[in-house]
Amino acid sequence: MRGSFSRLFAGTISAAMFAAVSLAQGQAQTTVKIGIINSYSGFVAQAADEMQKGMDLYVKLHEKDLPPDVKIEIIKRDDTSNPEVGKRLAQELITQNQVQVLTGVILSPVAAAVAPLTAEAKVPFVITNAAGVSIPRMSPYVVRTSFTLWQECFPIGKWAAEQGWKTAYTEVSDFIPGHDSEAAFIKGFTDSGGKILDSVRYPMQNPDFVPFVQRVKDAKPDVAFLWVPAQTQATAMMNAVRDLGLRDAGIHIVSAQDLLPDEELPRMGDTPLGLITAGNYSTAGDRPANKAFLAAWKAEYGDQSIPDFFSVGGWDGMAAIFDLTKATKGKFTGDEAMAFLSHWKNPDSPRGPIEIDPNTRDIVQNIYIREVKRVDGKLANVEIATIPLVKDPWKELNPPK
């Protein structure tokens, strides 16, 4: 009896001491918990790797700039490129890990599965890629630092019509961003007087694009708009374009930047030379901030590693979260965070000036028309025209009801 009493007593004392110690630490140090949901495995693992490297690099270079008593804790989770898994991970991060900010996400279907949870839990969700145009409307706690396909494909549609090209053929992957890019290109092209011959959607993971590209070749349009998710699908598409001699047949090709990601360009041979795409970032961008970013990237990941638009989306997303942490000294509610994030600006991102539109919580940024040219013996997406500070056109055309 006495033994159990003294054990209880000792237990009480140590619990009280522990509480006192953690209270003291709490005063000295604030920890901001950040949950990253990313597709480290699955069919977009390559894009996920690019984005993660961008985030990690930002954290590494800027952790020292945080206020001295503020720390960040990053919890990474793999959604395996599967929306159901992403949703479950978001639940765990919010309820068990009690993260204050959610970020990451490559795939729009994953982001669409996670977004409603953030509205319930009032947790800010900084999307660093997933470009599905309507996702920020699914939750008032979503803010996006990447792009929408309407931002890129609407201008390229207009640009194609301005080249005097009268007829177009569109082919896209059959999921959210493919549908967005198709609609945006068609709107941009037909508004400027162009005519669409046909529109085709192929499966999301397609091994050989020859049958689809052959259709374009038969239809003989002035211009083909081809959208595929970046990386393996992009290279497979360019192989089909090469094997069928689509460009020798006199058919122009335009797309969003996903068709010619900077890190895949060296794998595509000479086929892409002269191709025109619209995008928000190219490693060939001639800006001091981009030069500094590239130098830091090469120092961290080696000379062979090439960043792309996924990396810059991740980098800028982390920049927004860091700025929030600095401005609030690491103490914020979901609503305070959103008040800050939806007015966040960065005049000097590697991709140029960017800002969040407070009305839509989507990014406003320069869209560059880029042409593939040979620079120092290597292919590069060289920016040939800049459309300054583009707001997402879809949200302007479809105001909330």
Binding site: Y40, S41, G42, F43, A45, Q46, A48, D49, V200, R201, Y202, P203, Q205, N206, P207, D208, V210, P211, F212, Q214, R215, K217, D218, Q231, T232, T235, A236, N239, R242, D243, L244, G245, E263, E264, P266, R267, G269
Partner: protein, 290 residues
């Protein structure tokens, strides 16, 4: 009309090249499944390994294309031997569910292992300069690399057929597929035969993975991503035959390409529907024994 003919020719040609890659990878699976009754879903892992070895040798060490290809096939065959001795053989004649669980597990381990060793980036395969560009056949020119694929596929079919029909080793395999117990009782060392056949099948997969790297991109999730294609070829072709998977691969490769061309909206669905119809009609596959 000339345009339509050209399109049909182009679809046939590209479908054929695709079919050859499918055949090379799947034929080993068909033989090992027919011979040992082993459901090896992880067969694609060997194709992926061949792809990694070949692209690695070419890109990192500048090994010429043909040498890298041969080394890829040999390396894959060698790697498969200890796996067969240590893992697979314990499950011969066991429950199919156990075999499926084992090999699915191997697939997931291969995804993680490949990501760890080579990273998540796609391995690029640059065809050698003598296979870049087009070959002119007089009436029409075709991409050289795909023509090479078709040629390789054709040669291998003949070599395999001759090997199986005309050699002692082939006769032993046929005997073991037909009647395992009888083969054992006439003194065929089936354990050794299994090992060699498994290594041969894996080596062929490695060869197919390397040759087809331009078409089926080499990524860590390779074995999972293309599994359906390999399984369809084997199921439609029938187990344990060399001819079966060949015709099945031709059928899948060309039908898939053609349907995607004619009916792009539904095209990706058609080969699954056709496979179902075919299997309802002949559950044992085109050339499988009832």
């Amino acid at each position: 009309m000339g345009g339509t003919l050209a399109a049909i020719l182009s679809i046939g040609f590209h479908g054929l090249a695709f079919a050859m890659v499918l055949y090379l990878i799947s034929v080993g699976l068909s033989v090992t499944m027919g011979l040992m009754g082993f459901v090896n879903l992880a067969h694609g892992v060997f194709a992926m390994l061949g792809g990694y070895v070949m692209t690695g040798l070419m890109n990192r060490y500048g090994v010429p294309f043909l040498a890298a290809l041969a080394l890829a096939a040999i390396a894959t065959a060698l790697v498969s031997i200890p796996l067969e001795r240590l893992l697979y053989r314990r499950f011969y004649g066991g429950e199919e569910l156990d075999q499926v669980l084992l090999t699915m597990g191997l697939i997931f381990m291969s995804v993680a292992g490949a990501t760890y060793l080579w990273g998540p980036l796609t391995q690029h395969m640059e065809p050698p300069h003598w296979l870049a560009g087009q070959v002119d056949l007089g009436f029409r020119s075709f991409p050289a690399y795909r023509s090479f694929l078709i040629l390789c596929g054709g040669l291998l079919v003949i070599a395999l057929w001759l090997g199986l029909e005309r050699t002692r080793f082939g006769a032993q395999i046929r005997a073991a597929v037909d009647n395992l117990r009888m083969a054992q009782s006439v003194g065929i060392n089936t354990s050794r035969l299994f090992m060699l056949t498994f290594a041969l099948g894996s080596g062929l997969a490695g060869l197919g993975g390397g040759l087809g790297a331009d078409l089926l991109a080499i990524t860590p999730s390779y074995a999972l991503q293309y599994l359906v294609y390999f399984i369809i070829v084997v199921a439609v072709g029938g187990l344990g035959s060399i001819r079966g998977p060949f015709f099945a691969a031709l059928f899948i490769g060309i039908a898939d390409t053609a349907f995607k061309y004619w009916l792009p909206g539904l095209g990706a669905f058609f080969i699954y529907a056709l496979t179902m119809v075919l299997l309802l009609w002949r559950p044992q596959g085109l050339f499988g024994r009832a």
